[in-house]
Symmetry: C2
Subunit: 415 residues, 2 copies
């Protein structure tokens, strides 16, 4: 058997990398930088997208299972969402006050998210988690924030995973517990000595470099009970999970409702928007904090969000789930056929993939490198994202290519 | 003489306010909320803008001297900028990596801003000031941040002017000095005991509720010399002033160059974008911090920024300055004709207006209320903004209306 190892031209990409390195620290920074922690064949720069497919700047097409790390949730260049946004864009985005979309979107979130009785808007996921924390402190008059070890809640000095430039004071009010370990939450509460403003938690454990882990019902119910008992806020960080599990709230399945929820990423299908929703008991405090941003009242992303939520709550999440199911099943079957044991965790709309006995990630790096050269964007150590625009054809084409990628990987790691 | 006191229909506005109050804390929050600290006749909700004019949701037109609090700098619905943005929007905004606009804009900022040797992008002005601070800490290994008392540098817990929800730890590393008082900077340095990561300062003092104050040359040169002497970064916060004074840097007039500058607001004419630029000595540190956001790599606002900077550096700032000069002169002449002494301070592109002997703001509230009812958006206690799209006709029409507004104000406060 001859194994093909396709290559692509990445000439424009290479030229842009060189220019970027001259004028941007690290070339490209943040979660989209591929230069430091990704297999070698990943393109860095993209030009366009349509449905579930994107093109890099050299014109190569990919079926995209990263979805811009989450913002794309109903398809690149979705015609319905883009038309709604465009209708407001020609009228104006940043004006000297909000538009009617501000009210319409707040009403829609209150109607859609089970616990939501009010909403506020911002631009970054970090804005949303931070507003929730500040609101919780204003409401409770307490200080400490309890979070799970390694859980990502944003990239400001409170939360960023890198230590560079962060001071001890920035973290002085954060106490960590272990995800799915209620005893460790109680220990953190005791350490705080009653001064807990909020417990912030993601709906499932979606840390990088490790199997994704659902919240146990005991954990979800338990943190809710603890927050209520000690008079602190329960903040659900749905920046990543929002509208990819349950539009009413990712913990509705456990019958657990938070006091405050942070959304961003997929809420407007890539238009820059974040939202905080909360229950009435926190509304007065939320009106007393001062948070704002130059572009937070812009109507375009809010019009886009109304259209996006309409799609997601009318079959979009079901379509995404169906596509994710088919992809997971296909990958599992292919892996076995090629003699690999892969471990797939997390919701099928936010899949995480690793190979067994691959502590150094060499197998998964080889596999995702082989896939990217065949036009499939996967991630070797971060959860991926499905969208409502991943069609049967997209999944079939992607699986044809991953089958070849498994074959190439097997040729590099013979049995 | 009969004084007309025009009224407008604000029925749609009133209906939206009522709906907003039900689902948003405080109805509208942040710097665009008019319900708590503004004269009674201001509309809260807008529908569209074109050039220097905006329409509220009831269809009333205004000549806008707030420019969305700064983001609008080259005209609402600017055809050149919107075409550049639209060209990328139809291809895609948030993709699974940056576009070529990321590189082009970084190169343009390095070319345009005198001290800039690199650039990074984000979404909020607060992102930009915060990234500059974290970069300074990473580069210097020091902790404290020196800022001027009352200077606004953003709305996160480090900077927000409201105390609600802010902890002592959030402010533990901030030491304040007085703007234009070098001795007070030295006192702050001494208090920090050598542990100063950065001095952050606005190009002029543009605090609300007070006359705007240019930096004295001694102050600008002095903070530069102190930062250099003690091995800390000088951060210029140009979020508000950026590209409204000098595209090369607002302190070029003093021959003073900062190490890091924060931009946002006008940089992309209302498309959500922020930027940090810096000198090479801080580039390595900037590559070591972890900052990112879901939408920070989006190409649309970067394409808009390239077009915006092209307009501003090719006559745009001059046009804005000329319009601001004419408006200031006209207001001064009218005030005197009506027997008022008004005090206008700050750059003509960012004017601040107060009435003498008006400590309770009753005269300026009456005047700006009279102006808004005649279709001119002014601000009674915050700096205003001109744009490159304020035409001679806009200034002439505005001044016709402010003349009437002065007359109405005089009728309320007879000599």
């Amino acid at each position: 058997m001859t194994i093909s190892t396709p290559q692509r031209q990445l000439l424009a990409d290479a030229a842009l990398r060189e220019r970027a390195s001259a004028v941007v620290p690290g070339g490209v920074y943040g979660h989209m930088s591929v230069m430091r922690q990704m297999p070698p064949s990943y393109p860095q720069f993209y030009s366009r997208g349509s449905g579930a497919r994107v093109h890099d700047v050299d014109g190569n097409e990919y079926i995209d299972f990263m979805c811009a790390f989450g913002p794309m949730i109903a398809g690149y260049a979705n015609p319905v969402i883009d038309a709604a946004a465009r209708e407001q864009q020609v009228l104006g985005d940043a004006l000297s006050g909000p538009t009617s979309h501000f009210v319409a979107l707040a009403e829609l979130l209150v109607e859609t998210v089970a616990h939501a009785e009010w909403a506020m808007f911002a631009k970054n996921g970090t804005d949303a988690t931070s507003i929730a924390v500040v609101t919780a402190r204003a409401a409770t008059g307490k200080t400490k924030l309890l979070k799970a070890r390694k859980s990502y809640h944003g990239a400001n000095a409170w939360f960023t995973p890198a230590p560079a430039g962060v001071t001890a004071a920035d973290r002085a009010n954060i106490i960590e517990f272990d995800y799915n370990d209620i005893a460790s939450v109680e220990t953190a509460v005791a350490e705080a000595g009653g001064d807990v403003a909020a417990i912030i938690v993601t709906p499932f454990r979606h840390d990088g470099l490790t199997d994704q882990e659902y919240a146990t019902p005991e954990f979800a119910v338990g943190v809710r009970a603890i927050a209520t008992r000690i008079g602190s806020a329960l903040i659900l960080d749905e920046v990543r999970t929002g509208f990819r599990i349950d539009a009413a709230g990712a913990w509705e399945q456990y019958g657990v409702r938070p006091d405050l929820t942070a959304f961003s990423k997929g809420i407007a299908n890539g238009y820059a928007l974040a939202a905080v929703v909360g229950i009435d008991a926190f509304k007065q405090a939320a009106s007393e904090i001062y948070v704002t941003g130059s572009f937070w009242m812009g109507g375009v992303s809010m019009a886009a969000a109304v259209a996006t939520l309409g799609i997601l709550t009318n079959g979009g999440i079901a379509a995404m789930t169906s596509a994710g199911d088919a992809f997971r099943t296909g990958i599992q079957t292919q892996a076995e056929a090629h003699g690999f044991t892969v471990v797939q965790t997390g919701p099928v709309t936010m899949p995480f993939l690793r190979f067994e006995d691959d502590a150094e990630l060499s197998t998964v790096f080889a596999f995702t490198d082989a896939a990217i050269r065949r036009g499939v964007i996967l991630h070797p150590w971060h959860n991926m994202f499905l969208s409502a625009a991943h069609t049967d054809d997209d999944i079939r084409d992607a699986l044809e290519r991953t089958d070849d990628a498994f074959a190439e990987t097997r040729s590099l790691f013979p049995l």
